[in-house]
Symmetry: C2
Subunit: 694 residues, 2 copies
C-alpha cells in the first residue's frame, strides 16, 4: 500500500482526542489550524472537542476517513487498530508511547499491534513517534505543541526523516522560528514497527513537494533496500548517522535498542550510493537548504568561483576555503577586470577575490555591486558567485534581489555569506533565499555547501568507465570445495575457493613427503615459501610455520621436517612460489547485519597498522563501483607508483573486488573472507595468503 493516506488523507480520525490540555487536544488543534479535510475526534465521553463533533467510537466516524491517529494508553491500541480495520481505515499513526522502547512487555504489545494490522492490511506509522508535519500543505499530524503555528510555517522543498521524536520537534521549532529555511515534510519515525525510513524515503523521492531529503538515523536495518533507494534517487539525500563512534554506538544501542552498525562500513555504503554524509544537525540542514534553494548545477561546470566581498580579509579567508573545498578562485577575464576598473579607485589593482570596499567608498554600494555582478556574470571563466553582504544599512545597503536575479539569468549559482545587524541580516537572508541564493552566517559553511552541491551533481552525471567485467559464476565449483567443511578454512582451501571465483592466487602445492615438497619446489622455481597448515593455527607467522626464501631442494626437505615437527606431525605442508612484494593490499568480505555482504579494501603491510586506510562498499560491485571504491582510499596515491615502481593495475585490483563480491552474493555459506596480503608485483594483484570462514 502506498503511503499516500498518511500524507494526503481525505479525513482523519483522532482516537484519544480530549478537550483537556494534553497531546490528544494538541492533535485536534493542529488539524484545525491547517488540515482542510474532515476532522473526526473519537472519544465516548464528549460530544464536541474544540467545537468539532466528537464520535463515541471509530466505527461511527463518517466517510471519507483515510487515516487514524492514535493517542491513547498503549494497552488499548491493539483493539483500536482492529476497530480501524473493521472501519476500513488502512493507515494508522500511533503516537502513543509504551511499546518496544519500554522493554519486553511493550515489545509483545507492539507485536500484537503488528499482527492485528497485518490481518487488515493496515500500515502502521510509529508507535512512539511525533508524527508528521507538512509545512507546504499545512498538515500537522502530531501531538507537538500547537505553539509552532505562532512562529509560522515556512513552506519549502526540503523534507526530513528523523529517528528521534524530540529532535524532529526541536529542530522544526528552531528552524521555523528563525524563518530562514523552508520545509516540506518532517517525519518522526519512532519505533518503526511497520513504516520505516525506507518506506518514507521511497515516498519522498517521488514526492513533487520534495526536492532534497535530510535524514537522521541511528540504525538502518533494511540496509540493502535503503541503499537501493538511495542509488536510484534522482534527488539529493543527506544523512546524519548517529553512533559512528564507539561512545555514540553504545548510546544508540541504549536509546532505540538499535544497532548503530559499523561506522566505516556505513560511510562507505553512503558514498557508494551517492548519499551526502553529514556531521552534525545544523550542518545537515545547511546542506539540505543549499540543495533545496540553489538551481540545478551543470555537472560540466568547473567550479571557478568569483568572490565579491566588501572585506579584503573575508575575501582571503573565502579564497582559502574555496581552495580547500576543491573549488577554484576564478581567474577573471581581461574584460571583467576592465569593467571593474571603471568603479575601482585608480590605485587599486583588480583581482579575484573582488574586494569592493574602496570602490564602494568612491561610487556607492549599489552601483559598485551591480557593476561587479554584471562583470562576473558575463565572464566565461566564472562558473559560480560567492557574494558577501553586510546588512547594516549605509554604504552597503543594496538591492540583493537585483544581484541574485542577474546571477540566475546568467545561469551562475550564487551563494551568500551575510552578517550584519541581526534583524536586517535576517531579512536579507530570507529575501536572498526566496530568490534562489542559499545564505549562511558562517563563511566556511557557505563554501562547503557550494562544493557539496556541485560535487553531487557531478557525481550523478559521472559517465561510466566503460569497463565491463562479469566474473564466471563460481557456485558449482565452490560448493564442491566447501563440501563437508566448516569454520575457518586453512590457507590452501581458502585460496582454492578464491581461485574458483576468478581471483588470482599464488601458485602452490601441498606436499605430503619431503621428496614431493622438493619436487614441487623445483617445479615452482626457487626460492619458495613453505608453510605448515595445522588445524586451529591461524597465526602461522607467530607460530614459526612460515619459512620464506627456501633456496634449495635439500633445504626444502629440512624445512619440511621442521614444519612437521612444529605441528606435532599433524597438519599439511604447503610449498609456494615466492612473490616479489612491491606493495601489500588487504581485501576482505564481511557480512554486515544491516547491509549483508560488504567488501573491504585497504592498504596492507606496515601501512595497515599505522595509516588505518580502508574503505568499504556493499557487494556486489560492478567495475565502476570497484574503481570508485579504490579511489576512495585516503592514500590512494600510493597505488600510482613512485620512485620508479610500476603503478598498481587498478583494473586488475577492481576485478578482484568484483569477483569477491560475486562470491559473497552467490555463496551465503561464506561468512567472511580475508585476503591478507594481496601482494602487488609489477602492478598485478596476487592473493598470497587468505582465510575463508564458513
Amino acid at each position: 500500500m502506498s503511503l499516500e493516506a498518511f500524507f494526503k488523507p481525505r479525513g482523519v480520525a483522532v482516537v484519544g482526542a480530549t478537550p483537556k490540555p494534553k497531546g490528544g487536544l494538541a492533535i485536534v488543534t493542529n488539524l484545525v489550524m491547517g488540515f482542510t479535510g474532515g476532522i473526526y475526534p473519537v472519544n465516548p465521553n464528549y460530544d464536541t472537542i474544540s467545537d468539532i463533533k466528537c464520535y463515541p467510537a471509530i466505527s461511527e466516524v463518517p466517510d471519507p476517513v483515510d487515516l487514524a491517529i492514535l493517542f491513547v494508553p498503549a494497552k488499548f491500541v491493539p483493539a483500536i487498530v482492529d476497530e480501524c480495520g473493521q472501519r476500513g481505515i488502512r493507515a494508522v499513526m500511533i503516537q502513543s508511547a509504551g511499546f518496544a522502547e519500554t522493554g519486553p512487555q511493550g515489545k509483545i504489545l507492539q507485536e500484537e499491534v503488528d499482527h492485528v494490522a497485518k490481518k487488515h492490511g493496515i500500515r502502521i506509522w510509529g508507535p512512539n513517534c511525533l508524527g508528521m508535519v507538512d509545512s507546504v500543505n499545512k498538515n500537522v499530524f502530531s501531538f507537538a505543541s500547537p505553539n509552532m503555528w505562532t512562529v509560522g510555517h515556512i513552506p519549502g522543498n526540503v523534507s526530513l526523516i528523523v529517528q528521534s521524536g524530540m529532535l524532529a520537534g526541536g529542530f522544526l521549532i528552531d528552524n521555523m522560528s528563525h524563518g530562514t529555511m523552508g520545509m516540506s515534510k518532517v517525519c518522526s519515525i519512532g519505533n518503526k514497527s511497520d513504516v520505516d525510513e525506507c518506506d518514507l524515503l521511497e515516498y519522498l523521492v517521488s514526492d513533487p513537494d520534495t526536492r532534497a531529503i535530510g535524514m537522521y538515523l541511528e540504525a538502518i536495518p533494511r540496509g540493502r533496500r535503503f541503499a537501493e533507494i538511495c542509488k536510484k534517487s534522482p534527488k539529493p539525500i543527506v544523512v546524519l548517522k548517529g553512533g559512528t563512534s564507539q561512545a555514540g554506538a553504545k548510546a544508540a544501542a541504549s536509546h532505540t535498542a538499535s544497532m548503530a552498525g559499523n561506522g566505516a562500513i556505513i560511510s562507505g555504503i553512503l558514498a557508494q550510493c551517492g548519499v551526502v554524509q553529514a556531521r552534525d544537525f545544523k550542518q545537515m540542514l545547511d546542506i539540505c537548504r543549499a540543495f533545496g534553494i540553489s538551481p540545478k548545477m551543470d555537472p560540466a561546470m568547473q567550479g571557478r568561483v568569483a568572490i565579491l566581498t566588501y572585506s579584503g580579509g573575508a575575501g582571503i579567508i573565502a579564497s582559502d576555503f574555496v581552495e580547500n573545498f576543491g573549488l577554484k578562485v576564478a581567474d577573471l577575464s581581461q574584460e571583467t577586470k576592465e569593467k571593474l576598473a571603471t568603479v575601482y579607485p585608480d590605485w587599486m589593482p583588480v583581482a579575484n577575490p573582488v574586494d569592493l570596499w574602496p570602490a564602494v567608498e568612491k561610487n556607492g554600494g549599489r552601483k559598485v555591486f551591480k557593476t561587479a555582478m554584471e562583470a562576473v556574470c558575463a565572464d566565461p571563466d566564472v562558473d559560480m558567485v560567492f557574494l558577501h553582504l553586510h546588512a547594516a544599512g549605509g554604504h552597503l545597503d543594496m538591492d540583493i534581489g537585483q544581484l541574485i536575479t542577474m546571477a540566475r539569468i546568467a545561469g551562475k549559482p550564487i551563494f551568500c555569506w551575510i552578517i550584519g545587524i541581526m534583524d536586517a541580516a535576517r531579512t536579507v537572508h530570507i529575501k536572498a533565499q526566496e530568490m534562489g541564493a542559499p545564505t549562511y552566517r558562517e563563511l566556511s559553511r557557505a563554501v562547503e555547501s557550494m562544493s557539496v552541491v556541485l560535487q553531487w551533481y557531478k557525481a550523478r552525471a559521472m559517465p561510466s568507465s566503460g569497463k565491463d567485467f562479469q566474473p564466471e559464476p563460481a557456485k558449482v565449483r565452490c560448493q564442491v570445495l566447501m563440501e563437508g567443511k566448516q569454520g575457518t578454512l586453512d590457507e590452501h582451501d581458502s585460496k582454492q575457493i578464491l581461485a574458483s571465483a576468478g581471483i588470482p592466487v599464488v601458485k602452490e602445492v601441498l606436499a605430503d613427503t619431503p621428496e614431493k615438497a622438493a619436487e614441487a619446489a623445483h617445479n615452482l622455481g626457487f626460492p619458495v615459501v613453505m608453510k605448515g597448515l595445522a588445524p586451529g593455527m591461524v597465526h602461522k607467522t607467530e607460530q614459526g610455520l612460515v619459512r620464506l626464501g627456501v633456496n634449495t631442494g635439500q633445504e626444502v626437505q629440512t624445512v619440511f621436517a621442521e614444519l612437521k615437527a612444529a605441528m606435532g606431525d599433524q597438519g599439511r605442508v604447503l610449498v609456494q612460489q615466492q612473490a616479489r612484494i612491491d606493495m601489500e593490499i588487504i581485501v576482505g568480505l564481511v557480512r554486515d547485519p544491516q547491509f549483508g555482504p560488504c567488501l573491504m579494501c585497504g592498504l596492507g603491510g606496515i601501512y595497515a597498522e599505522v595509516l588505518n586506510d580502508a574503505v568499504f562498499a556493499m557487494a556486489p560491485l560492478n567495475m565502476d563501483e570497484a574503481l570508485a571504491l579504490i579511489s576512495r582510499l585516503k592514500n590512494q596515491r600510493m597505488l600510482d607508483g613512485f620512485r620508479g615502481a610500476t603503478p598498481v593495475d587498478r583494473e586488475a585490483l577492481a576485478e578482484v573486488l568484483v569477483c569477491l563480491g560475486g562470491l559473497g552474493m552467490e555463496m551465503e555459506g561464506i561468512r567472511e573472507v580475508d585476503i591478507n596480503p594481496l601482494v602487488i608485483t609489477d602492478g598485478k594483484p596476487l592473493a598470497v595468503d587468505a582465510t575463508v570462514i564458513l
Copy 2:
C-alpha cells in the same frame, strides 16, 4: 611608550571633525555617546560641532589631551602629526586612507608620517584603519557608523585584533546585534605603520579587562617577537590566519601587500607557542567566547563529560563528538544512576548520555533536570557537563540559572547546546552565558570549544620532560668549514658542518685514487656506498652518481673509475658506510622571512611523497619543544616501531633538531639545510645525505 594613551586617554582631539554626515562627524558622535574624557573637535570652519566647542587648530586644544584621531585627506596628515607633536600629543590614530595601500606614492607619504612621528616620539596607530572600540569602557574611537549604539554594547572580556577594517566593523556589528557575546576591545590595525599586532597583543595580554584574545591576521612581519609574546601569554590567544592556501596567499598579497607566508610553518609556530589556530571567523569567536565565559579549568581534569539531554538522538550525536574531540563520555557512578532512577520511568535504563525526556514527561522538566544536575555534580567520575536545552516553553521550561549555578558550585565546567523558538532561545543563551556557561546553536561547536579550552589549560600546565640537552656552540668550528665557500655545498662539506654542530653523520672518506677508495672501503667495512660529488650536480641519484652495495675492493676501484668518468674527470669521490635503513626521516632548516630560522621534521622515503607529513617550529628548540614537534607528526605512530622494529629513539631525534636549531641561530650565513635522509637504524638517527646552502 606604552599604548595606554590609545585606550585610556584623558582627552581626545578629533582632527577632521565636521558637522556634515561623514566619518568626521561619526567619530565625534561615537565619542559623545560613551567617552567620559574631554572631546575636542578640530576644524577651523566651525565654532561648534554637535554642540561641542570646536577648535581651529590642534595647538588650541586645551589640556588634558592624550590622543589625536585624524580623519583628513592623506596629504595633510604629515603636517598635522607635526602639530600634534608640538602640542605634546604622543598618541595619534590615523583613520584616513590613502597611504601605503594605494601604491608607491601613498607609501612615500606614509614614510613621511613615520618620520615626523619618530621625531616627536609619537606612536602612530593606522593609517587606513577603523580604530578601536572598547565595549567595557564605552570608548569608541572610530568613524564606524554610530548605528552600533542603537544595537547596544555588550561588555565582555574577549578582545580582538583584526587586520581588516571592514571585517572588524562587520563582525562587531553582527556580534553586538545578536547580543550573545560580550566584547572588551576590538582593534582594527590597518596599515600598521607603527603600532602593530605585536604591540597590541602585548598590551592586551596585560589588560585587566581582557581574558581571551582573538586575532585575524594576514601577515606577521615581526614573527619572532609575536611568537615570544604568545609563548609567555598567560591568556589564551586564538588566531585565524588568512592566506593559508595558495589562492588565499595570493589574495592576501594583493589585499594588504602582505606576505601571507608559508601556512605550514605558521601553523607549526602557533602550535609551538600554545596559540589556538582557528579555521573561520565565527569559529574563532565561538572559541574565544568559551575562553572568556567558562571558569578556569583544572588541567588535571580527565575530560569525562556527562551529557544531559532531552533528545536521545542529540545525546548520541553528542557522544560521537565527545569521543571525536578527545573527551570521554563519563561512566556514571552507581550513586548517580540510582538518583536518576528516582525520576526515570521504570522501564528506562539509566546511562550517559542522560536522556531525560521520558523522565520529563513523567515528572516535569524542572524537577528532572534539577535532579539530574545534582546527581552528575556530585559524581566524582564526571568532570564536565554538556547540557542540551530546548527553549520553547512547555515541559522544558526550566530554571537555567539554577542548573548552571549548581555546576559552578561543584566546580564542573558546563557548556550548553540551545535551540528552540528564536527569541526564547536567545534569552536563554544570554542568561546562560552571564552565569558562566558558554552556549552554542551548533552541537559540534559546543563540544569542540569544550575540548579546545580544556586542552589549552592542559598544555599550559604540561610539566617539562626534564630532558636537558645543550649542544656545544659550533660557531668557531663552523666558520672554519664555511671559509671561502658559498652557494650549495656538496654532501661531504654539508655533513662536516652538521657534524661540527653535533649531528651524527655517516662515516665517510673522500678518496682521490681508486686505491685509496678501496682502502677506505676496507676500513669502513663492506658493503659501502660510493658517490660522485660534482659541482652543480644536486640530483646525484638521477645522474647515476650514487652506487649502493659496493661489496669488494675490486668493485670499489671499478666504480671509482665509472664515477670519475660520469663526472668528466671532475669532482670528488666519496666512500661511505652503508647504513641499514629501518626508516627515513627528513629534517631541515629554513629561514622564513617572518619567523627567521625554522626547523622542519617530516617522514621521509616513500612516505614523504605520499603522506606529506611534515611539521615545523621556530628555532631554537629546547628538548621539550623538539619532542613536542616530533609528536605533532600526523603519523607519529610510525616512529613507535611495528612488526618488531626498534622504535625510533625520540630523544636522539630531538637532539638532532636541537643541534640544527642551534646551528641556524649561530650561523646566519647558513640559508638552508636539508638532511634527507636522516636514516634510522636500530632506532638511532644518522645523517646519510645532506645539503647546506650558504
